[in-house]
């Protein structure tokens, strides 16, 4: 199905977490998830399939960190190889009916653009252009730029994707918890406000705006409302499975059950979201819970 057609006709359910699901399948500490596109493709496929089985309409390629800033100079595989392999795996699982979103994450660089830092726009632009080209070459249906905390960086990533591909682009920012004195002043950890984000990314040609990850879970519906008031563009929200804690066996557990997670997602849909899914700590059960609610709603 084409992305443009899908977003007009229904709420698109995205997949849940990839990294933690790969860890369940043996990904060790210090090994980058992206490298498994080449070394353990069957395990990556297994995660994609587990989400498609429970009703995901769209899956994200396992390429969040597959950019030159993150893989480093010692990487055995090139950016192009990691991304092409990631798209191939996703495409094989998705077939014709499920959408594949090519995943682009942040550089993770501390040094930034002026006035805060000393890096030039060109340095960022090169990183994102290289990855965008490879994802497009592999054959994704859309690009998702996600978990961005810095609007300047997200804006350059958007430009790089727009310049180098003709694909629809989803831009998803990560917000910090607002201070108690200003509960509606949602900002990224770099201080970017919702209105600046909407303005800059809309001007840059984003097809979908929204948010994922970060400190916000219960506040996400309110954030969705805040963004919806500022734009008519389709919106995306991918929510963490609550706040993580460590249990007595030193295993990480997330606080939100699939049903409680679905409660929050349904409130976000009520505020006008078009694409919903899971971020850190979510698994196929969380996505299944969204699917069941939407099936009931639409029947």
């Amino acid at each position: 199905m084409q992305f443009e057609q899908a977003i007009k006709s229904k709420i698109i359910i995205c997949d849940g977490a990839m990294g933690t699901e790969l860890q369940k399948r043996g990904l060790g500490k210090g090994v980058t998830p992206d490298s498994w596109n080449i070394t353990n493709p069957e395990q990556v496929k297994d995660v994609h399939k587990s989400y498609i089985q429970v009703g995901a309409d769209a899956i994200l390629t396992n390429t969040f960190g597959a950019n030159s800033a993150r893989i480093g100079k010692e990487s055995k595989y090139s950016v192009r190889e990691l991304n092409l392999a990631g798209v191939k795996i996703a495409r094989e699982c998705a077939g014709e009916d499920v959408l594949v979103f090519g995943d682009i994450g942040p550089t993770g660089w501390e040094d930034q653009l002026p006035p805060y830092g000393t890096l030039s726009e060109d340095v960022f632009y090169e990183v994102f252009s290289e990855q965008a080209k490879a994802l497009a070459e592999g054959g994704v249906d859309a690009i998702i730029i996600e978990t961005m905390s810095n609007l300047a960086e997200a804006t350059i990533a958007l430009k790089a994707v727009k310049d180098n591909t003709s694909l629809p682009v989803i831009c998803s920012m990560t917000f910090a918890r607002p201070p108690a004195s200003r509960p509606d002043d949602f900002r990224t950890s770099w201080g970017d406000s919702v209105s600046d984000i909407v303005e800059s990314l809309t001007k840059g040609g984003a097809d979908v705006l929204g948010s994922n990850c970060g400190d916000l879970v219960n506040e996400m519906p309110f954030l969705a409302k805040t963004i919806r008031e500022l734009t008519k563009l389709p919106l995306i929200f991918e929510v963490n499975a609550g706040i993580p804690r460590i249990d007595d066996d030193y295993k990480t557990v997330y606080s939100l059950s699939p049903e409680n997670f679905a409660d929050i997602i349904m409130q976000i849909i009520d505020q006008g979201a078009n694409i919903v899914g899971g971020c850190c700590g979510t698994n196929p059960e969380h996505i299944s819970a969204i699917k069941n609610r939407l099936d009931i709603l639409q029947s």
């Binding site: 990294g19 933690t20 860890q23 500490k29 210090g30 993770g108 501390e110 930034q112 002026p114 006035p115 805060y116 830092g117 000393t118 905390s149 910090a176 918890r177 607002p178 201070p179 004195s181 200003r182 900002r187 990224t188 950890s189 770099w190 201080g191 993580p244 804690r245 460590i246 030193y250 990480t252 850190c280 700590g281």
Partner: protein
């Protein structure tokens, strides 16, 4: 908001003016730079300012220290304590750790940065070499925060646990987790790390 260049040049000018007016260098350091960094930390904790503001303040502070250093040479810098800091094994994220580093060094601590992906042995070696008072550990991932437990156990095995205070932090870390792995302190952000580090050493922060 000042740009990085403006913040650096204005701080520089204020320091030079103070020196020209015979304000003692140690006073400029403590009442000017160190206490200013503490204000930055508090504002960051309260959500009044954001990461780039802290990074700019840290650069301005660093540049200011470079100017002051020749004047301080006679009176040795008196640190509040020595901290070895690192992002734990398996974790390659260092922005959060760096913010804490800037805060602590700006706040008057001698900070030894071990970088990221730091093993238990490396922490223990650094504690010995630098005669550290505090081990500060950061993790951004839920999957790597459990390395903190291994590192504390490593300090125990090396017979160093009694010698140092362990301070932990990072996005997924909580007080509950700190209690569970028997860390001495938890700081929820870079701003509160200054106060927590001072508290652990029983001094004013």
């Amino acid at each position: 908001m000042l740009s990085r260049a403006q913040a650096i040049s204005q701080t520089e000018q204020i320091i030079k003016d103070a020196l020209a007016n015979n304000v003692p260098a140690s006073e400029i350091l403590n009442d000017g730079l160190v206490s200013a960094m503490s204000v930055i930390g508090d504002k960051f904790s309260e959500g009044e300012i954001y990461i780039p503001d802290v990074l700019i303040a840290a650069r301005a502070m660093q540049n200011g220290l470079d100017i002051l250093r020749p004047y301080l040479a006679s009176d040795k810098p008196s640190y509040k304590g020595t901290v070895v800091i690192g992002t734990v094994k398996g974790d390659l994220h260092d922005i959060g750790k760096n913010l804490v580093k800037y805060m602590l060094s700006g706040g008057g601590f001698n900070v030894i940065d071990l970088g990221n992906d730091v093993s238990s042995e490396k922490f223990a070696d650094a504690v010995r070499t630098h005669n550290a008072d505090i081990v500060a550990m950061s993790a951004l991932l839920t999957t790597t925060m459990t390395s903190m437990k291994d590192i504390i156990e490593g300090l125990e095995e090396a017979g160093l646990r009694e010698k140092v205070k362990v301070l932990i932090g990072g996005a997924p870390v909580t007080q509950d987790f700190a209690d569970k792995i028997k860390a001495d302190g938890y700081a929820r952000d870079a701003g509160s790390a200054i106060h927590k580090a001072a508290e652990l050493l029983g001094i004013a922060g």
